[in-house]
């Protein structure tokens, strides 16, 4: 039995449908991320789980029991809010102890638990600080400490790193992931940042217009996107519109502008279907015109941008579309704009979507 189960959640705000039949399971101890652009319904989903918004349809089960009739305070889970929501009139200690007091812990137990939590987030010695005397990163830590203090099995996090700068965000990613492993509890994490999702999650659910587009491990999501949205949203890619010529057991044959291209076997395609080849920038190689590759298309190099560790090529295919290729930089002189080249890739490393 899953720790948390969302069943066919529906939600409308006025005439706009925010959630369409959203179903998802979170197992105990799992780090699950809901990833999507703003307005995809991810925050609404989180609020429904927390009990702050009621769904129009569907159910939310925690350890097999429906939580829909329970008010937020009766649900055995806690939330880290987007803007931290630390109580400005209470110091760090009182913030962290807020839930503990309500649970009926004695003063001594509370003090011990607060000390333990502050140690966990490396904020020892800050007990008497007021929230407005803390930096963004410190507030973040206190918000997490406050939310994990009651010791529930599930923590909800609503874009907790959104307000931090890039460097701090990277550091906090690691810390949050480490914390989750250490506590051994499940995290349901919300973000629009694919890097965050790929770095931290056990499983990622891509949300688009209130629908779950794809659910899988970070590797599955990146290597085998199942929809055009998932392919475009994660990573940097060029999508080539093709037609399926033949489907075999080993792979498929596609046709692009009169040329045959091999592609990996992908479920759901039949001869005659439209298909998009998802060329990840770093999986495309810029080759000389006579070089051999399993799959390649001729074109002209439009631009070459040197960025230290990598070089970015833009190739205009003879058939029209432009393909971006990012390759590790090498010392030797490379291609020059205007030169004839081929864009090549390994069909087994390249996804095909509709």
């Amino acid at each position: 039995m899953a720790l948390l189960e969302l069943q066919n959640l529906q939600k409308h705000f006025g005439k706009t449908q925010v959630l369409r039949d959203l179903s998802l399971q979170v197992e105990e101890g799992q780090f699950v991320t809901l990833l999507g652009p703003s307005g995809c319904g991810k925050t609404t989903t989180l609020r429904i789980v927390a009990g702050l918004t009621d769904p129009d349809g569907g159910d939310v089960l925690l350890e097999g029991r429906s939580m829909l009739r329970l008010p937020p305070e009766k649900r055995e889970l806690n939330t880290v809010f987007q803007n931290y929501a630390l109580f400005p009139h209470m110091n760090v200690e009182k913030n962290v102890a807020y839930a503990l007091r309500l649970m009926g812990m004695s003063a001594r137990q509370r003090a011990a638990r607060v000390a333990e939590m502050l140690k966990l987030v490396q904020m020892e010695g800050y007990e008497k600080r007021m929230p407005d005397k803390l930096s963004g990163g410190q507030r973040q830590r206190i918000a997490i400490a406050r939310a994990v203090a009651p010791g529930r099995k599930l923590l909800l996090l609503d874009e907790p790193l959104g307000a931090l700068d890039l460097k701090l965000r990277r550091q906090m990613q690691e810390e949050i992931k480490g914390l989750q492993k250490e506590l051994g509890i499940a995290f349901l994490y919300i973000t629009h940042d694919q890097e965050e999702a790929l770095n931290m999650s056990d499983r990622i659910g891509i949300l688009h217009e209130g629908r779950l587009e794809q659910l899988g491990t970070p590797e599955e999501i990146y290597e085998r996107p199942t929809s055009r949205f998932a392919a475009e949203f994660i990573g940097q890619s060029t999508l080539l519109p093709c037609r399926v010529l033949a489907v075999g057991t080993e792979g498929m044959t596609l046709e692009f502008a009169g040329q045959k291209l091999p592609a990996r076997a992908t479920a759901g395609f039949r001869a005659g279907d439209e298909a998009l080849v998802c060329l990840r920038n770093e999986r495309v190689a810029c080759l000389s015109p006579e070089a051999a590759a399993e799959a390649s298309l001729p074109g002209t190099l439009v631009s070459r941008h040197y960025a230290g560790g990598s070089v970015r090529y833009v190739i205009e295919l003879d058939a029209g579309p432009r393909v971006v290729c990012v390759a590790p930089s090498a010392g030797d002189a490379a291609f020059r704009p205007g030169q004839r080249v081929r864009a090549g890739w390994n069909p087994r490393e390249t996804a095909v979507v509709r």
């Binding site: 937020p72 806690n78 929501a85």
Partner: protein, 267 residues
Amino acid sequence: MRRKRVGSALFLAVMLVMLYLPVAVVVLYSFNANTSRFTFAFTGFSTQYYQGLLHDTKGLVSALMTSLELAAYSCGLSLVIGTLGALGLAGAQMRGKGAVETLSLLPVMIPEIILGFALMAVFTFAGVKNDMVKLVIAHVTFCVPYIYLVVKARLTGMDPSLNEAARDLGAGPVRAFFSVTLPLILPGVLSGTLLAFAMSLDDFVISFFVSDTTVTLPLKIYSSVKTGVSLQVNALCSVMLATVAIAVALSKLLSRKKEPGEMKNEE
């Protein structure tokens, strides 16, 4: 540059004199030894008016007590009504919310004389006889909007997720209100109440229409004008001024202490 500075200093001086000269005159004359009502000459220092006040020879102090009692009742009631109203309307997502808001602020915009007359008519029609009840209802009518406005401003600046965080951490709605929302809106509630208190204490027109026999301080001062103003009024005003000045100074001191913790929340 320099001329500009002199100009603005002069302007400031004129403004301050205009504002505070009457106050200074009142304080000065409260210590006047001259008892004549017809000459305003300052003939010497005396505390006779304060002594008179102490024995309430002119009924001014008992009128003040009545006013304070009235203000306390009406502000206490308005405090609850105004705060609940602000909380309710802040959370409501109903049709006609704007209309309700405007309607509830109307009492401060209607000319007092109309409000006073209307209230008198209603009380006569409804047969309400008790003076204090009438006065309290009348004062609540114009006190509520002040408290509502200030509390609403405070609530608008408050992050709604604070209350949600309290609920999420296990507090029921009542607990969340008293431990999180109320402490955060309290400065607003208090300053709104203070404002309403001043309005109630000061009200003449509405009380004049509504009251039959009860004499509030403004009514007492007005009625004593006909028989000639007792110079004790100066002493009473001075006492009240001093009280208000001390109260304001205290509240400034308190709020300065509190400010660092409150600042973020105000933004």
